[in-house]
Amino acid sequence: MSTEKYITSSCCISNNTVYKNGDLLFENTNADVAEFLLSVYEHFKIDYSRFYKMDNLSKLGWLASEILLKGGFKKENYPPETIGLILSNANSSLDTDQKYMASVADIPRSSLFVYTLPNIVSGEICIRNNFKGEGAFFVFDTFNADFIENYVSSLLDNNILQACICGWIELLEDEYKAVLFLVEKLNDIKAIPFTKEQMNKIFDDKKNHSMKDQEVYIAGVGAITAIGNNVAECLASFEKECAGMAEITFLDTIHRNKVPVAEVKLSNAELAEMTGVFADTSRTTLLSLMAATEALDDAGIDDISTLRAGFVSANTVGGMDKSEDFFIDFLKDNSKGKLRNVFDHECGCVTQATADQLGIKDFMTTINTACSSSANAISYGARLIKNDILDVVVAGGTDAITKFTLNGFNTLEILDRNYCRPFDENRQGLNLGEGAGYVVLVSAKLAKTLNKKLYCKLSGYNNSNDAYHQTASSPDGTGSYLAMKLALEKSGLLPSDIDYINLHGTGTQNNDYAEGTAVKRLFDPSYPPMSSTKSFTGHTLGASGGIEAVFSVLAIRHGIIYPNLRFEDQMRDFSFAPEKKFLTGQTIDHVMSNSFGFGGNCTSLIFSRI
């Protein structure tokens, strides 16, 4: 008979850290295995002289069991015969076997010999606690949660055991990892269901933490798009369900009045005046300056010059708007063309100009992976903080509409002549947009000193490649599926934890089908609310990952879900549809934001409530 079973405690010791129930209890970074295990013993003030005799594998497992059982576990509630241990690892007792073999050449040491069986660790735990229930030690290549769940469940269901310690205890030379679960039939407040998914989640979660990972928080946001010149204006447009597409106003092109675009509603002259730079600056830079300045101001950092600061910005067109002007004269006569117009052609020039304005010089770089560019900029920025290279990074991207990109997408015949309809069965293509979006990423240490409420944290990210075609996505959505799945794994979350997906959702036949297939593969049968905000802003190319990261962060802050405008007919191939209405009062803990681009470059980011 099957009964309810719960993990009432968990402990993970790996990479010089000790976690219990997800909380970091102890860390000792500069120690080898033996020193580290001793420091754990001393830190938890355990007095048990047998500890000193144990081999490293037994010390590791025994310490994990001590910490696992400390506090809550009432062993007197159970007869000793009903408390058991089901353990596993990959290399059995190889670590001590090797040491014993090395000693054989000299004088065989019996103190080592007795530890040349992996189940001795179970014995040490049983001796300490007077457990007398069933025990077994299994060897698997990797942690086999499926097996453990089945095996332990049958022992508990058949009342052979009432409580069981199970998990993984692996140690070979410098590498070690112990993850133990206490499984009981009682459901206390902290208990979580005993399932392989939960065990894997705890096991992998610690894998992430074991990189000595530090959290990266979002302290500021800034955005400029066709629906608003700043974050507040964008939010207001969402609430009014007012899209930013219109006939072309600023761009001088023959496509005016033929294809709608989502232009930022300010001229270069107006943008230059607002940002305090020359009016002949590339529009890509002007948009970047607007949003990056807003984001940094929002973060409330007093003096960025005292911090290790970076600017990681993405764009795909650089100063192409100006280069186009240059080429008109240059092509007639190659000694003609205003050089000022080509001076900032490179993508890197846009970043440099903005970084100079922000006063950031410690670190800057530019990423261009087409339409996933600024999502990659955000994860790269986060990694610079996690690797303790920087304290604060302004990360995101910018792109202006140019004739180059408009004509490029036009030749590919993927521009919708009407306002785009992402994820609709009758979608006709994308509308080009422009804008910039940045988040200010800060380290945990800096976050504590900021006198403001943090938005959320960046809990997961992944960059995978579809490796299918230069411009088209694979029909099975391999790249997008991998990006979403691996970002989830990085965050230690399950698909069911996601409360909202900000889709890449360009509105092209190809993207929405591939992305939809990937969403189905990962989330079926229970889909979170999702929408493409490109139905408001158009596709802002290299800026889209940054802009949509800002929207994702705001979804968590304000408890909102954005509508997918103009959606009418659900795609035939799928059983889900995007959200049609602007929703408020939602509890949004985790948001996934997708950005996929030419060249198969797929990136997903996950933002989580703190």
Binding site: M211, I254, H255, T316, G318, M320, S323, E324, F327, I328, F330, L331, N334, L339, V342, F343, E346, C347, G348, C349, T351, Q352, K361, D362, F363, M364, T365, T366, I367, N368, T369, A370, N376, Y380, R383, L384, K386, N387, K403, F404, N407, G408, T411, L412, N463, S464, N465, D466, A467, Y468, Q470, T471, T478, G479, L482, G597, F598, G599, G600, N601
Partner: protein, 354 residues
Amino acid sequence: MKTFIRSSACISAQNTFGKQELFPEVTDITGTCLRAIEPDYSLLIDPKLIRRMSHIIKMGVAAARECLTEGKIDMPGAIVTGTALGCLEDTITFVTRLIELNEELLPPTAFIQSTHNTVAAQIALQLKCHNYNNNFVHKGISFESALFDAMMLLKENEADNILVGGIDEMTDTSFAILSRLGLYRRWPVSNLSLFEISAKGTIGGEGAAFFLLTDKPSTDNLAEFKGLQTFYRPKDNREVEQKIMAFLALHSLQIEDIDLVITGKNGDLVNDKIYDQLVGSLFSNVAVANFKHLCGEYPTAAAFALWLAANVIKKQEVPSVVMERSLKNTEPRKILIYNHYMNIYHSMMLVVAC
């Protein structure tokens, strides 16, 4: 954790591709621009694909493939590239057509291949490599940014056997524009006497150099890649010296410990002032080599320097054509590469014997 260079491959104005010797014969060209010597691509890339590929894509894909072959790796754990100017040829083709044809009836091919990430994408596509794929486009430190990413990935245990490369191409149009911007010599010069005739301007260049980075030691590895640092707009030469000393100190080294310094000297009067001053001060007692007379100046030329350093360490010989001030130690084990791009972006790389 250590970072090793497992293998390398380089396409440049020199005969550097697929050769056992570093420079079997040195290219001596009188002009103001060095173009890459292209290998027989049909041996490396499917001929059907070659027809559609631009110059930079062919160079990049071929160098990447050769690097994987050299490193005996079928599938890299990640692909990271750096290119300041990206796919210029296709970009210029598309801009030219859109102006000349007044935005009508444009063919899409040039646009499709114009995106800066095309080389990294094409490598992934041909290998069917779904792993991490990134591309940096930050002027004179595009390649260094890519290297930095690769080093972090290794440290984070996210990937091993990371393919990292620096690629830039020269086209007639970009050469004409950059000449007008005053980057190059006004009069033709023999590249081998670039440093003897002092004048304004350097010679243009292009190339592709790829590396496989791993944290696994092996006797096959070329060298250990010990460190990388970049800095931006130093106040003066004093700050440059301080940055270099601090960088060495970070790795418990002093300038006296360095067997060879490879500088980014390019023959331009203003540009070289910094190097000349260093050679008279901080570098006054160390062997000095240069490389841009061999490959020309381009934003990712530091990749050529890294290829040179890694192979000098593996082969334990320094070709005389690169030497400015000769070696005291004939077995170079520690090499510092110091390069700057227009005195805005400066980079330091440390390569040592395994």
